[in-house]
């Protein structure tokens, strides 16, 4: 068990999850120190099995798989981080305004968001990413759009319940402007909800990014990206070149499962059995 702040103890799965995520961050941050080769350059003969020189072997182009795997952490974490920020920057204000103002704006917006929410996220992300083209910003935006409804719904729900509170009514009574009420009274109470949505959906974001890069719709070619390496290594599976896909895929799983464990821990901590997003 690890004691964080008082009363917050990490144990079991949540601890494991935190370790997994921190491990990935560690790889991303210390990438240049941890890797002897440039992941985008061809450094040796192609399709070498794992060895002392290349712990994860080399791929078809002769790139060192260990370096690509380590640097891949940067790519995926960057996209996940960026897309979450964009999702929050769009979804939260919309949720606040929609929930607080109500009326026809709220109904229309909620209907749009519900329609988007019911639609398979990956397919929407594919459509947007295909239209926008490759690149880290484009990918982050495509994924962000898919998760805006999730943040919107939670924030709107929370706003709806907060605005009935007595202190909000009191604020209105003393003449506070709606914007002031939103920023000073509603928003601080919504922050915890945002954190919950984040922990529960970030695993999904990781998998969506992996899927997009698997389809070649994420960052462009020489940039190390786990999903892309999976796709690139797939054709060689039949000939027994197992190391091309094993390690990138393993890292995707570690990151996604890590976030999932953290999310489960958070949900249990908050007392919710099944937190519905």
């Amino acid at each position: 068990m690890v004691k964080l702040v008082p009363k917050v103890r990490l144990k079991g799965l949540t601890l494991a999850g935190t370790i997994m995520v921190l491990f990935t961050v560690f790889l991303a941050v210390l990438a240049p120190i941890l890797t002897p080769y440039d992941p985008t350059k061809s450094v040796d003969l192609s399709l070498q099995p794992p060895s002392w020189k290349h712990p994860f072997g080399t791929n078809k182009v002769g790139q060192d798989m260990w370096s690509r795997t380590v640097y891949g952490a940067r790519t995926i974490l960057a996209v996940v981080f960026l897309s979450t920020i964009v999702s929050i920057m769009i979804g939260v204000p919309l949720g606040l305004i929609s929930g607080y103002v109500g009326g026809i704006l709220d109904r229309v917006l909620a209907m749009i968001m519900d329609a988007m929410y019911a639609f398979p996220g990956l397919i929407l992300a594919i459509a947007i990413a295909a239209a926008m083209g490759p690149g880290i910003i484009n990918t982050a935006v495509s994924i962000a759009i898919v998760y805006v409804p999730t943040y919107f719904r939670m924030v709107r729900g929370q706003t709806l319940s907060i605005k009935e509170q007595l202190y909000v009514e009191a604020a209105r009574a003393i003449g506070a402007k709606p914007l002031t009420i939103l920023t000073r009274y509603v928003f601080p109470n919504v922050v915890s909800v945002i954190a919950v949505v984040f922990t529960l959906s970030v695993a999904d974001v990781v998998l969506t990014e992996a899927a997009l890069s698997f389809f070649g719709l994420s960052v462009p070619a020489p940039t190390p990206d786990w999903g892309f390496d999976l796709k690139a290594g797939h054709p060689y599976l039949l000939s027994g070149y197992w190391w091309l896909i094993t390690f990138p895929g393993l890292m995707i799983m570690i990151l996604a499962v890590g976030f999932t464990f953290i999310g489960e821990g958070v949900a249990e901590y908050l007392g919710a059995r099944e937190v519905k997003i």
Partner: protein, 350 residues
């Protein structure tokens, strides 16, 4: 309003169905609009992407006319008009034509690939239900360590990356053990005559057992991959449900009377079934996402592979049409599922 309520005062099933069907229209409209504007408004000029930078002006104009960006006289069509044109064609069933190869109608090409996805989705769904029920019941029944293990299983499976799991299965069963095929839907030449488009069913109907065996062997790995990843939710719901039922008095009473365990288990299962049904309908989006990923991993010739192939070829009308098709299917299936729920559980009718 009094007329449409039955004597008990509850809304009738008919009202519910009508209300849901009416609600379908704005939902589908929103999605179609979203797809339309995503494909048109986002940066990147698809026309240049298709014909290349050096194409002569006439080619560009010709393509723009075909895409509906320019009208017959060569004047640019305003975006709202493009949108209305698209909608009006859509309601008549015209999804446009492909921009590549034979320029065939998009809908026709979609329908050629649709049955494969349906077959895979159903197979994966069945696998996930079986896994979910078996493991969930075990976890709920045994409690303790088994329950925790099942809980962890549920958490992990949801976070698995389908292509990777699929590839591991391929590596293990197809490459190293060589017992199952690596990819594809059936051995060439063994396709059964098309009745439903689902190979497993068609081969049984027409008595082609060689086709059946081939189709079965090919669907095993993809179905298990997909089913495994989807099973997480069912496992958790079953486990929770079984645990709750187990705590009830009739279980204690039955045990006290000396009724054998397996008979009690059957009763417990019967009572825990309803929440599972509820979850089934909500998994459609996950199922479709999973199906797309599974298809590309196993070269399964369904909608997922089709969509991605057309993206590679920049066949924008087909890509747009396929995504719209997905939206329609999702809305329709959700509608049917909701109606089934309302039929089973009268409390949830409006």
């Amino acid at each position: 309003m009094a007329k449409i309520f039955s004597e008990t005062g509850m809304a009738s099933l008919k009202t519910f169905i009508i209300a849901r069907v009416l609600a379908l229209i704005p939902t589908m409209l929103i999605l179609v609009t979203l797809v339309f504007f995503v494909m048109r408004v986002l940066p990147g000029d698809p026309v240049i992407a298709i014909v290349g930078m050096r194409a002569p002006a006439e080619r560009v104009i010709e393509l723009k006319k075909k895409l509906g960006l320019l009208d017959e006289a060569g004047n640019p069509v305003p975006l709202p008009i493009q949108y209305l044109n698209y909608l009006s064609r859509l309601v008549r069933g015209d999804f446009g034509r492909s921009l590549i190869w034979g320029k065939r109608p998009v809908l026709v090409e979609i329908m050629e690939h649709f049955p494969a996805t349906v077959e895979l989705a159903i197979a994966g769904f069945i696998v996930s239900i079986i896994l979910g029920l078996v493991l969930g019941s075990l976890g709920g029944w045994m409690g303790g360590k088994t329950s925790s293990a099942v809980k962890t299983y549920g958490a992990i499976t949801y976070a698995l990356f389908i292509p990777w799991i699929g590839m591991l299965f391929q590596l293990f069963f197809a490459v190293w053990l060589g017992v199952l095929p690596v990819a594809g839907r059936i051995d060439t030449g063994l396709e059964p005559p098309t009745i439903t488009g689902l190979y497993l069913i068609d081969s049984v109907i027409t008595g082609r057992w060689d086709s059946f065996m081939s189709a079965l062997r090919h669907i095993m790995l993809p179905a298990i991959t997909l089913g495994l990843v989807i099973s997480g939710v069912f496992t958790r719901v079953t486990r929770t449900s079984v645990e709750e039922v187990m705590r009830q008095d009739f279980v204690v009473a039955a045990r006290a009377r000396g009724i054998p365990e397996h008979k009690i288990l059957i009763h417990v299962l019967k009572n825990s079934f309803v929440p599972i049904l509820t979850m089934m309908g909500l998994q459609l989006a996950l199922l479709m996402t999973g199906a797309v990923l599974t298809e590309t991993t196993f070269s399964w010739p369904g909608m997922g592979t089709f969509l991605l192939e057309r993206i590679q070829y920049r066949d924008y009308t087909t890509v747009q049409g396929t995504v719209v098709f997905f939206a329609i299917i999702v809305s329709l299936v959700n509608l049917i599922v909701d109606i089934c729920y309302a039929y089973i559980d009268p409390r949830i009718r409006y």
